[in-house]
């Protein structure tokens, strides 16, 4: 693997460059039936999708925002623009992407990465995908990697069979919201036995101020196939609230292996209320790699339903909360079948008054005898203003299981910093080393480019004045 990574040398300032809003259409702010019908019409939805959206809207109106977790009262849906159509058609060549949008993705290193290390790329700008491509070799093997709009048209049956079946709109208020106004996202289908060895990456960029992004990612891996999907997210900073309420549904077939990697790197005005869920069949494997950086508030708990015997889940997460941020992240696993196993390993860091909560739910149902689950979550607070919590919940309905849980919350040790400084290492680097050391057990499990990006983001967070 090449050592140079696609986002290696980026600075936070690059994420923050905003383009002039050149969208050709924006829905009116707020959420009404009229808005939903309008979005649906502009997207040329089939009738069933319009119905789905309207039903979701009803659900949305009937349920309350969660009464737990971080305070999200500053989110005022009446002010959020749910649909922003960029002035661009989806194309298969970067040359045809409008210059300012192209520049954005260039700065994020996406086209360069595509040439180097990706088998397919999707790029979404505000509410619509502006670029999608996949290597011909994969297409010939029957692999589908396209934007959701195209998928609905060209693979309607598969989409209809799976769309929001894992995350039904009634799941929670923001799932319902997603069902009503979703737009964009990627669709991946890997036929039985096909191994997609090089990663596919979709990048979601939210440029418009005061807008919401509601992309839908649907991935289906048939029996014995494998793939690695990378999701990247970012947005420039505004002083109005933006909302991200994406939805990810992953169907991992018998013996299939899916790695789903994300580094979410939102600006500090973002409410990130994202829902991700995987259904894993017999002997299948879902591997989550989840980095949560940025945003004002995040609520993100990727869920794995271990549905078939011997299904497995590996979850690796790093969360970094700094000043003004409340990041509530974690994972959930539902063991439904016997001999299923899960391994959850997380590190959370809080700094300058930031709050980081690790929240997990592990459920082992009656049928899941011989289930194995091990949870290891560690939190590090870099100063006395910062907060950290771990809230693991276990619900075990069967006796014959092997469950382990280890949680540690600690503050950075002044003596450890002194020790490093006494060896000539300056204070900032000493702190950075200790933080890198703290995430190292996780970083070493990551592919090199991810470890490097994670380290970069950690350094950016540490260097930032707040």
């Amino acid at each position: 693997m090449s050592k140079k990574t696609y986002i290696e040398d980026i600075e936070r300032t690059l994420y923050d460059i905003k383009n002039v809003d050149k969208s050709v259409y924006k829905s009116q702010a707020g959420l009404t039936e009229e808005v939903v019908r309008d979005i649906s019409k502009r997207k040329n939805d089939p009738d069933w999708m319009l119905d789905f959206r309207l039903k979701s809207l009803e659900v949305y109106e009937s349920i309350n925002i969660p009464n737990w977790g971080p305070d999200i009262s500053r989110l005022n849906m009446d002010e959020i623009v749910t649909y922003v159509r960029p002035d661009a058609k989806m194309v298969g060549s970067w040359d045809e992407v409008p210059q300012d949008i192209r520049d954005t993705f260039d700065r994020l290193g996406i086209p360069a990465a595509e040439k180097q290390s990706l088998a397919g790329v999707g790029a979404q700008y505000d509410s619509e995908v502006v670029y999608h491509s996949v290597q011909k070799r994969l297409t010939e093997q029957g692999v589908i990697y396209t934007d959701m709009e195209t998928a609905i048209k060209e693979h309607e049956d598969i989409v209809r069979e799976h769309f929001m079946k894992l995350v039904p709109p009634k799941d929670h208020k923001f799932a319902a919201l997603h069902g009503a106004v979703w737009s964009g996202g990627s669709f991946v289908y890997v036929p039985a036995g096909v191994n997609v060895k090089i990663p596919l990456q979709s990048y979601f960029r939210l440029n418009a101020a005061g807008a919401g992004q509601f992309e839908h990612t649907l991935i289906i891996l048939e029996e014995g196939s494998s793939a690695h999907f990378i999701e990247g997210c970012s947005a420039p900073k505004y002083n109005v609230t933006n909302l991200h309420a994406g939805c990810v549904e992953l169907f991992v077939g018998e013996g299939a292996r899916l790695r789903y990697s994300t580094i979410e790197n939102w600006s500090r005005n973002m409410m990130n209320l994202n829902t991700k869920r995987a259904l894993v069949e017999k002997n299948g494997l879902i591997e989550w790699v989840s980095g949560s950086f940025g945003s004002a508030v995040s609520m993100l708990y990727p869920c794995s339903i271990l549905h078939g015997e011997g299904a497995r889940c590996e979850f690796t997460g790093v969360t970094f909360a700094s000043k003004g941020q409340n990041l509530d992240t974690g994972a959930s696993v539902i063991h439904v079948a016997p001999h299923t196993s899960a391994n959850i390993n997380t590190r959370t860091i809080s700094k300058s008054g930031g709050a980081a909560t690790y929240r997990s739910a592990v459920k082992v149902t009656k049928n899941a005898h011989h289930a194995k689950c091990s949870v290891n979550c560690e939190s590090l607070m870099l100063d006395s203003e910062s907060r950290s919590d771990t809230l693991p919940v276990m619900d075990i309905e069967v006796g014959d299981v092997d469950i382990g849980h280890e949680a540690k919350i600690g503050r950075i040790s002044e003596d450890a910093i002194f020790y490093l400084m006494s060896r000539g290492i300056d204070e900032a680097e000493a702190r950075a080393m200790i933080v890198r050391g703290f995430v190292e057990p996780i970083a070493k499990e990551l592919p090199l480019e991810y470890a490097v990006e994670m380290n970069n983001l950690i350094n950016i967070e540490l260097e930032g004045a707040n």
Binding site: A416, R423, G424, M433, G437, F438, E440
Partner: protein, 242 residues
Amino acid sequence: MLEIKSLHAGVDGKEILHGINLTVNRGEVHVILGPNGSGKSTLMNLIMGHPKYEIQSGTIKFEGQELNLLAPFERARLGIFLSFQSPEEIPGITVENMLRAACQAVTGEKIKILPFRKKLQAVMQELKINPDSANRYMNVGFSGGEKKRNEILQLLMLNPKLAMLDETDSGLDVDAVQIVSNGVAKFHNKDNACLIITHNTQILKSLTVDKAHVLLNGQIVAEGGTELVDEVSQNGYSKFTY
């Protein structure tokens, strides 16, 4: 090289050291003796710049430069080194990576991985340290004796001007004491100096002591040469008063 004048210092407003005077010249080996709690570690922490300890009055100078306002890393870069009585564990940072970062920081030069590794392995071999421990996290899970040996490894890699050793010979088996003592002897030459705290004096075997100081309740109550070291190891501290 090191010049301490009427140093009054302590922690949390409590005075622990009551007027210390101490001069260490280039090429010398000094020993600090004293019962538990007399302030020996406090003195070394102050010289290294531990943020918890504050100077109430008096001065610490190194090669003519007042240390008071310098951060610990700046003191390290001037050539001051402390082998800790209880070395910290640093999870996630390997011995090799930390030491390379430290050597780069102290010399101000970029150091290539491979030559560095070679040198590190050679020094580890001299100290009879298991070569695999270069890839272990700094002091994490090390036995007491392994931690001490690891401090001497750092001493030899960083090659400072002033080596302060705080009970580096405590908790070592007979062979290990010999290895550590040889290591310090190897380090010492006419251009550098050692300041050594010891309770059992074994670390001094391979060294020639120039001066010994007895610290009692934060004051130096006796000074002399090797004979003072012998006197204390035979009769303890009962004859000293302050």
